[in-house]
Symmetry: C2
Subunit: 236 residues, 2 copies
Amino acid sequence: MSKTRQEEQHAAVREEIKKFARLIMEKEGTANVSIRGIGRQMKLTAPALYHYYPNRDALVTDLIFDAYNALADALEHARDLSSNLPLAEQLLNVLMAYRAWALQHPVDFELIYGNPIPGYGAPQEVTGPAANRTFIIIAGLVTRAMESSDFTPRPEYSRIPEEMGDSIRKLAGEMAAGGVALPELALYLTAVGWPRIHGIIMLELFNHIQPVIGGVDNFYRVQVEDMIRAMGLKEY
Amino acid sequence: MSKTRQEEQHAAVREEIKKFARLIMEKEGTANVSIRGIGRQMKLTAPALYHYYPNRDALVTDLIFDAYNALADALEHARDLSSNLPLAEQLLNVLMAYRAWALQHPVDFELIYGNPIPGYGAPQEVTGPAANRTFIIIAGLVTRAMESSDFTPRPEYSRIPEEMGDSIRKLAGEMAAGGVALPELALYLTAVGWPRIHGIIMLELFNHIQPVIGGVDNFYRVQVEDMIRAMGLKEY
DNA sequence: TGTACATCAGTGAACGCGCGTTCACTGATGTAC
DNA sequence: TGTACATCAGTGAACGCGCGTTCACTGATGTAC
């Protein structure tokens, strides 16, 4: 079932289209991607692009799908680059990579985590699995770090709060059904940690935190290190 | 310098315009506010609205200004309603009100904290002070809670990390220059806490956290309570 | 090797739509005498 | 109290713009014989 020459050609042009789409979003905002605008940049008439995408929404879906996967790829890459370091360090590097990717690809990050594009609804069955990759990478590392650590987490991270028991059990069940079995506590810790780093990044991306905290680089790193220590994954 | 009848009339119509603008943004997304769209809803032709706003951007600025202030009002209201409770409880209530407001006014929250509206740049001198109100309300409460508390914060919240010293001193200086003198540690704690709650809300607003964590209500409350305890503002 | 033919990427015109903004105007309101 | 007048909120037409999408087409390419 190898690709024909024509399919390869199409795939290559689609990549080209997405490249220009990202350039435009960078300049004009994510809400302003348009078939006509892309055509203009590519020195092609708009209708020509309909050979490659059936409509604008299909293109946007592709961009979102790519963005989720590029983020997950970046995290895996950071993890694998530091695979000879202690797991707490690997986790640190992965969380640093999360922000680094967001700042290097603000448009793609906004595309997946910012306001939805007006009049467009991403199909969950396409983006869902791609979105989950990121969470699973982090939760997997947290799991391994927990298992390899002798340290005691602070009280609030040593067990799942009663109120959250049901939610976490449900999540663990769903993930197990999808072939990813991870301990409930690791899932909880990841669920706690994710919004913490996400919040800093979102505020930074839209320039809300800079007037309050200069040196976001340091701030982010300190917060992540605190978190890793608080979770008992590293001595403090 | 009292308002003339005409000025009052104009102010009233401007409120009406904003009301419809919010309705439209709710249905079509923040990027889709338009003079013509508002006119259509108000059964008015678009040019009529130019008696009230010189152009679309002035309207958007007004909406953003209002949103910042409405959020700050909601926080002050929550604080004042619980002024007879211990300060840690007041802080809890204010942080609960932050999320409650965001969920009740998703559009206004997106307007200030989400993607900027394409082709529009908010004038900092208008929105800046309004934006700061929220931070000052929370930092003020943290200060009073710290001063009235006998409890010991966990190590990472008991002092400002070296790397952050300069940033926080700078912030404290700027705020003092603006007539708001608050201790540096309180500013640091607020700067740490704000992105934590913000991250949960942003993920919730765009439906990213729900697939991971059912029962965001409980999750948010637990996180805020943990935070208040970790900061030593309440016994644990 | 040379010719006939099918494929299909890209074109240009057109559709109906929405946008912000300007302009000259109308007609109701309310004031000044 | 009645009339003349100024004010100004709202209208309708128009400007130039951009959008997604459709359609019939052209002309280069590459294949089949």
